[in-house]
Amino acid sequence: MYDVAIIGAGITGTFIARELSRYKLRTVILEKDNDVANGTTKANSAIVHAGYDATVGSNKAKFNVLGNVMFDKVCEELDVPFKRIGSLVVAFDEEDMNTIQTLYENGIKIGVPDMEMIDAKEVKKMEPNLNDLILGALYAPTAGIVGPFELATALAENALDNGAELLLNNEVKRINKAKGGYKIYTNENIINTKYIINCAGVYADHIYSMVTNSYFKIVPRRGQYYLLDKSAGDIVNKVIFQCPTKLGKGVLISPTVDGNIIIGPDAANLEDKEDVETTSDGLSFVQETAIKTCSKIPFNKNITTFAGLRAEPSTGDFIIEESAEAKGFINVAGIKSPGLSSSPAIAKYVVERVKSMAGHLDEKEDFNPRRRKRIRFAELSDEEKAEIIKKDPRYGRIICRCETITEGEIVDAIHRNAGAKTVNGVKRRVRPGAGRCQGGFCGPRVMEILAREQGKDMKAVVKEGTNSYILIGDTKEDSEYEITKEFVASSCDA
């Protein structure tokens, strides 16, 4: 019998698992996909918001401001890059100026620290590449950027290091109330648990409806992005927003923690909870809108485009509460933006809820908040490079040329807790294939390493989803070539 079953291994699920792993609890994360951070967590703006735009008194307002200040510590503990670079909301006309003034006042009420209203001159000084037409901006120095999937994989790893369990490829099919808790039926297992925490992202309404009539609905709201090459990385220094619209925070331009530039998203409500395709209309919209902020964006340096789904709740706010109908079942639903920013505070709050449900929780004496440091070969000094290769020659073999990633780093990413199992899983953890050649050179090598380290055939290695096979078979054996030769001969005659 588990104490807690968390459904969904995105940023909220993994964060809650990590925070619960501080206590003497048996915790399991159930994830339908073959890796953690596979849904919304892998495709979003990667921003830690300052938090000025939510409605005063809402969950979004409360958790964003609390969550924001917690990032430095957790990212330091888990060796995840986080940069507090600040953000600007730029105004193009008087109406926008009023909007940012309102945002500023709203932020003060919510408790966002250190905000400033700045004029065009100061904007230009901070961000010389932005368009001249900008009249002023709301500057929020506490905004930051983080690698969301890097954080989620690190949280999962740390949770597992501290005794939590992770069941991948376990899609929850049915939940029954049982004595002292619940019985969860997945496609592979039956899990008995006292408490359930529903972190199922766009599927949270679906999961909740397994225990009672769900009073909320989650609408997938798709957003599309461009990701530019590192050589475009200095076009902006901060997260640059336009004024928010009804559908969201609008199109932003921001550096990423890895030195790329991210531009997006648009917003479109969909029916399909798996529809992460990009469209030419969506991408054109992002491009045309972003150009209003900065006409110098070098879109010819694009290295990839992608789309993600926000989990938009019908209630308009984060749903974080124990169900009134189903005791011991906590919904953590509708965690759209600022979900990533709020996740540390949400996790802390959920732990308090579990504590109150359980009466009290005993802390583990041996909880380790740190994960083993990742070796980032490219960032080492010459002496450190020499030393690490001497210790483990696999650090002397570069697999990804664009990002300078060694075999040693890839092997390590595979063998850690909650480690990489797919080509994209490796890419999200240590970045081979995330550079400008997009895996053209390193793809075959990464597959080879994955196959070797997991004792699999190359052909069994997948890109991402369970059936995303890259290779479909072997080329012909010699004997089969006879036919081919004849074919060639006859076609030459013709």
Partner: protein
């Protein structure tokens, strides 16, 4: 610190030819560094024939062509390190490099030759909308899987882009039993060699759809179909012309980009047109003692021309370390005028010329019965009639050195003059 006369970065056709030629010109300690597991570069995966017609006057396969140089390199006892990556280069010609055997190395060279080749443009670079399933490959990566590793990449294939590797792969996949449904090309002409269109598409009844592009990729795990749409004169998709092709694979042959990450680390000046280093008559970059050749400078159509260009770079590097390259003030600049996208070399120091100099260039469009007009200081010095020119085929113009030495020439330009103009 390891010390060498010349370090060649890249052991493909460019690096091999440069190293051999440098040795022939009395450079003693030469080291070739390659990041792959064997010498020969991309030639090793080009198992089709058609290489060497100009250099050896016979038709060889890629590996055969490479092997001739590899053998020569070994006979000459030129040192090489495989599975080795150069991490950075400094202005005073020091390199750091790593591999699993030697570990971290600092290497000092009297001259460096950049021969890193090029890489393929990707789906991201052209931002094809749709899902992101498995089954989308650049043509060269698919070629590596098939020809080096022995794996099939798909059964029903659409190819976007009619660059040479795409054309070659259309035939290769067909021979391996896959069905190639179509090759779509955005432009109104193919970027590949005419002989490849005939031998790889026409001979196998594979349709070449000019003025078409892929506008959507479908499929969640693996590609299930792609949508091909006709484009107008401005290369914008024409609504209503969409056609869906059921397939499991999309191959991209949408261009090659010289790979100059290392060149950037030492601030070699790059040309915005070629994406390769700006070079002079000796294939020396804007940094003294650092030379470059082959596809790292500009993407060639035939390996034979890579060899010739690289031999020049190797010979020049050997001269450089003997202080025989002259830093003359008599500099001639080359200008790509109407219809020409670029000319290599970019500058010419006339003192270093031998009997003649080849100007290598690409044209911007397809031209029939047009002239290449070469001017020196604005005066016509040469006109070459051409029945057919296309961006897929490199043009070479040989200029006798005597021309430079006369009349204080400051600039050479090449333009295309169409019939009747």
């Amino acid at each position: 610190m390891l010390n060498y006369d010349i370090v060649v970065i890249g052991g493909g056709p460019a690096g091999l030819a440069a190293a051999i030629e440098a040795k022939k010109n009395d450079a003693k300690r030469i080291l070739v560094i390659d990041r792959d597991r064997e010498l020969g570069g991309i030639l090793q995966q080009c198992i089709h024939n058609g290489f060497g017609l100009h250099v050896f006057e016979e038709e060889l396969t890629g590996p055969e062509y490479a092997q001739r140089f590899i053998n020569e390199l070994k006979e000459m006892d030129i040192e090489y390190k495989l599975d080795t990556m150069v991490l950075d280069i400094s202005k005073n010609r020091e390199l750091s490099a790593i591999n699993t055997k030697d570990g971290f190395m600092k290497i000092k060279a009297k001259a460096i030759i950049l021969a890193m080749g090029c890489r393929e443009r990707t789906r991201g670079a052209i931002a094809i909308p749709g899902t992101r399933p498995a089954g989308v490959f650049t043509a060269g990566t698919a070629q590596r899987y098939m020809n080096m590793e022995g794996y099939m990449v798909g059964k029903k294939v659409v190819i976007l882009g009619s660059g040479d590797i795409g054309l070659i792969m259309a035939r290769r996949l067909t021979l391996e039993g896959a069905k190639v449904l179509a090759v779509a090309e955005l432009m109104s002409f193919s970027g590949g060699l005419t002989r490849n269109i005939v031998q790889c598409l026409d001979d196998y009844n594979i349709p070449l759809l000019l003025n078409h592009t892929v506008t959507q990729i479908k499929g969640r795990d693996r590609v299930t179909s792609v949508v091909i749409t006709e484009v107008d004169g401005k290369k914008k998709p024409i609504q209503g012309t969409e056609k869906e092709y059921e397939c499991d694979t999309l191959l991209l042959s949408v261009g090659l980009i010289p790979e100059n990450e290392l060149s950037k680390s030492v601030h070699v000046k790059l040309s915005p047109v070629t994406s390769g280093p700006v070079v002079n008559e000796s294939m020396e970059t804007t940094i003294k003692g650092i030379f470059a050749c082959g596809n790292v400078v500009h993407v060639h159509d035939l390996v034979d021309w890579v060899t010739k260009e690289s031999q020049k770079a190797g010979k020049s590097a050997a001269k450089f370390i003997k202080n025989q390259l002259k830093d003359s003030i008599d500099v001639v600049k080359t200008f790509a005028n109407d219809g020409i996208s670029y000319i290599v070399p970019h500058v010419i120091r006339t003192d270093n010329l031998e009997n003649s100099l080849d100007l290598l260039m690409r044209v911007k469009d397809v031209y029939k019965d047009a002239k290449l007009m070469v001017k020196a200081n604005g005066k016509i010095i040469k006109e070459i009639n051409k029945r057919h020119m296309a961006p897929g085929e490199m043009e070479r113009i040989n200029i006798p050195s005597s021309i430079f030495k006369e009349k204080n020439i400051r600039e050479i330009s090449v333009a295309i003059v169409k019939e009747g103009e």
